[in-house]
């Protein structure tokens, strides 16, 4: 999966789980402030991403993840 396709999948998950518009899912968007996500939303999003990308994201790696870019890098790092 190339980077662009991966981001498309990532974006679709985010749109579906967080109920936001696709154009809101930019690399610098912050989950809390910009996408209005609470902690349960983020857990849901992680679970959706794990399913979509067939990866496992351990709890401790989620520490400090605040933006779409950080989360996307975490996911793509698992695909390698």
């Amino acid at each position: 999966m190339d980077n662009e396709a991966a981001f498309e999948t990532f974006k679709n998950c985010t749109v579906e789980v967080l109920q936001v518009a696709p154009e809101q899912v930019t690399l610098d968007a912050r989950f809390g402030e910009d996408l209005d996500a609470d902690s349960l939303d983020l857990v849901e999003l992680v679970m959706a991403l794990e399913e979509a990308f067939d990866i496992t994201v351990p709890e401790e790696e989620l520490e400090g993840i605040e933006t779409v870019e950080q989360a996307f890098k975490l996911v793509t790092g698992k695909l390698a």
Binding site: D38, L40, E44, M47
Partner: protein, 233 residues
């Protein structure tokens, strides 16, 4: 209503009465059991100390009807003995089945309920959770644990329109209580203001209420169904 309902430990006693009550109001009811299935109910063999078996049971329900919308976490066991004689095995077995088992089924159910933005969790505790009972350190602890579990989930999942409540049966006429010495049974009834043992249907009525639209604004509640034994506690 035609919701998908799962009653764990639904092959007899309080669980079976709950299953029948949901069925009577038109819901699609599945039960889990350990020893004996119920012929006319969608019965799934499941030992809830095993996460894979829990997952398989939910998977079978989802394949047939879709995600569970109402979970009645009822399955439980006793292994009574006085503390000084209670080995860690007896302690662990009861906690693992009654409390950790409830965590396993609630977690599995909640994953789908969160997505659906709706769901009802009802945990069947026991009056002994708050009143204590000699010989039941393990059982009472496991049933008290359900109250904390349910209330934590009420707060975690409330924003997703999922309610999480507890019913606390008192002395109910089931196989579990029939196994007690007759004098104990009489003593238990003597402490009940309504002057009789409860029937499983008495509990089922409250469980179906907590799962009904009428109870939409009730969460984190502990509802005693004990004939007044605990005076509301």
């Amino acid at each position: 209503m035609s919701r998908v309902v799962l009653v764990t430990g639904g092959s007899r006693g309080i669980g079976l009465a709950c299953a029948r009550a949901f069925e009577a109001q038109g819901d699609r009811v599945a039960i889990t059991y350990r020893n004996k299935p119920v012929d006319d109910l969608f019965s799934l063999r499941c030992d809830q100390t095993n996460g894979d078996e829990v997952d398989a049971a939910f998977g079978a329900i989802e394949d047939r009807w879709g995600p569970v919308e109402v979970l009645v976490a009822n399955a439980g066991i006793t292994n009574d003995t006085l503390l000084l004689r209670m080995g860690e095995d007896a302690w662990r077995e009861v906690i693992d089945t009654n409390l950790t088992g409830a965590y396993r089924v609630a977690k599995r159910a909640a994953a789908k309920m969160v997505r659906a933005r709706a769901g009802r969790l009802v945990f069947v505790s026991s009056v002994n959770a708050v009143m204590g009972a000699p010989g039941q350190a393990n059982y009472a602890a496991s049933k008290a644990g359900l109250i904390g579990l349910a209330r934590a989930l009420a707060k975690e999942l409330g924003s997703r329109n999922i309610t999480s409540n507890v019913v606390m049966p008192g002395f109910i006429r089931t196989d579990m209580t029939a196994a007690l010495p007759v004098e104990w049974q009489q003593m238990a009834v003597d402490g009940v203001p309504l002057g009789r043992a409860g029937e499983p249907e008495d509990v089922a009525g409250v469980v179906t209420f907590l799962a009904s639209p009428a109870a939409a604004y009730i969460t984190g509640a502990v509802v005693p169904v004990d004939g007044g034994f605990g005076m509301g506690h």
